[in-house]
């Protein structure tokens, strides 16, 4: 589902991602860890096409990013749910609208939209905030809106960047169970996180550890070695 080979990316002289290779099979749950500035966000941005793949190879949900045409970028993004580290929600719209947006751009009819948005908001404990403006939410509530939006389209791949940074442990564990549930239904999940408690709660997940943009040899990572 996600295949990365000798992928590199630089901002000027700063190589934020350096020669990274790994594969995530369909239905796998993989954590991406690493210190602040290690390149986790940059790697994920490459995978959803927010940065161009110039060196190496990247394949996500069947799309080869190296030679992706500009007009099929929306197709890729409909197959990939992304939780952004800085949320990227619209502060002047309601929670419901923000989450429904991901379905609206796909042209999904209103009834289906309503049902699916309600279901996901309930699962994330946001049902009583449906009609609040996102700008009026607490940090943790906003983060949950971002998570809900990434999930509502039932994508085959979810890329989550630090999805529990603003949540307390109990809520984090609950959310992890929601992610796990999606994973059980077949979604491939690649999650960047700092939180060790989070790592612990999906014991069967693989962990890819980044260090200064490259994969840290110390961490067990068979794909990258081969």
């Amino acid at each position: 589902m996600v295949r990365v080979e000798r992928l590199s990316y630089n901002f000027g002289r700063n190589w934020a991602v350096k020669d990274v290779s790994f594969t995530v099979e369909k239905g796998e749950f993989v954590f991406l860890t690493g210190a602040s500035g290690a390149g986790k966000t940059t790697l994920l941005r490459l995978l959803y096409g927010a940065l161009p793949v110039t060196r190496g190879l990247a394949e996500v949900a069947g799309f080869t990013l190296n030679r992706l045409k500009k007009r099929s970028l929306p197709d890729l993004r409909r197959n990939v749910g992304v939780v952004f580290q800085d949320f990227k929600i619209l502060p002047r719209r309601t929670v419901f609208d923000n989450v429904a947006l991901a379905l609206e751009v796909r042209g999904i009819p209103r009834q289906v939209r309503e049902r699916r948005v309600r279901a996901i908001l309930r699962a994330l404990g946001l049902e009583n905030k449906s009609y609040s403006l996102c700008g009026h939410l607490s940090g943790g509530e906003q983060q949950r809106v971002a998570i809900a939006r990434s999930m509502v389209g039932q994508p085959s791949v979810i890329l989550a960047d630090e999805p529990t940074g603003n949540l307390d442990l109990d809520l984090s564990l609950h959310l992890m169970s929601v992610f796990k549930q999606f994973n059980d239904f077949g979604a491939t999940i690649l999650m960047a996180t700092h939180n060790r408690d989070i790592l612990a709660c999906v014991p069967e997940a693989r962990v890819i550890h980044l260090k200064d943009g490259g994969i840290d040899g110390a961490a067990p990572e068979p794909e990258a070695v081969s």
Partner: protein, 292 residues
């Protein structure tokens, strides 16, 4: 599909509620620019009208031979009086001409003693009012030779200066006006475009997020285009409304003056053109703005 497009276009209208301040500012600017354009057109239109009123006149002075048969001349006068586009005709028998001359000169009775044996010929002065767009090249000349060909007519004078002055004014106006109008349209488009672009700048993150969740370009652009068109339309209409108010105000202000100066409103086609131009400018500028 068509339903979705309509829905997206409609969203352009409902989206306008979301950032009322930016929308109102943009709308105000569009209205005012439309008003300015309207003022310019109004001034131009009334200038042309005034030109037509004052300069579209051509005067002919016809002198019959001194020994012309007065019966025949008088018959000709009635014919002349029925001519096309004739505005005013003044006729003088030799006696009337002498009298007129004498009063003009206030020359006492010296001239009047000549009466009965007036040295002056019968004359007529004819004013034609022809709107300059109907004055083809040789119009005045043709009329001149026509008049000269009348029996017993000795001489026809006409004031070619006045005639060519009108022609020249019109040519000058037409030479200058189109570049100015084009230039003006460009200015309006830039002002409106800038404003639309600025108000889009405030929506930059919205566009970014739509891209990130997989919206296709037209999904993002259509509502913006319809917003642009709606703002153009509303702005154009408001501008025309204001223009009407200005026109009425100016007319009121001029009413007290002894000049018979009228300020007319734009003809319907120009007003409609202005509104259309506003819509087009709104569309075009949001198109340019969303492309980048």
């Amino acid at each position: 599909m068509i339903g979705r497009i309509l829905c997206l276009l409609g969203r352009g209208a409902t989206d306008m509620r979301r950032r009322p301040l930016a929308q109102i500012l943009t709308l105000a600017t569009v209205s005012l620019v439309a008003l300015l354009a309207g003022l310019f057109l109004l001034a131009l239109h009334n200038f042309q009208l005034e030109l037509l009123r004052n300069r579209g006149r051509v005067q002919f002075q016809i002198y019959w031979s001194q020994n012309a048969d007065m019966e025949l001349v008088k018959k000709q006068w009635t014919q002349l009086a029925r001519m096309d586009r004739l505005e005013r005709i003044a006729t003088f028998t030799p006696e009337q001409a002498l009298q007129d001359l004498s009063t003009t000169l206030d020359a006492g009775d010296g001239l009047l003693q000549l009466e009965g044996d007036s040295p002056l010929p019968p004359t007529a002065s004819l004013s034609f009012a022809v709107s300059p767009d109907q004055q083809d090249e040789g119009w005045a000349k043709r009329l001149l030779s026509e008049l000269k060909a009348l029996p017993q007519v000795a001489e026809v004078h006409f004031d070619p200066m006045q005639y060519s002055l009108a022609q020249n004014w019109l040519e000058a106006v037409q030479r200058v006006v189109w570049p100015i109008i084009a230039f003006f349209g460009l200015v309006a488009a830039m002002v409106v475009g800038n404003t639309v672009r600025l108000s889009l700048l405030t929506r930059g993150d919205e566009v970014e997020i739509l891209h990130l969740v997989g919206a296709r370009p037209w999904y993002i652009r259509l509502p913006l285009l319809s917003t642009g068109a709606i703002q153009g339309l509303l702005g154009g209409l408001i501008g025309l409304g204001l223009l009407k108010l200005v026109q009425l105000g100016v007319q009121d202000a001029l009413a007290g003056s002894p000049l018979a100066l009228r300020v007319e409103f734009l003809p319907l086609n120009q007003a409609a053109g202005l509104a259309c131009a506003a819509v087009l400018v709104g569309l075009a500028s949001s198109w340019v703005a969303v492309r980048s």
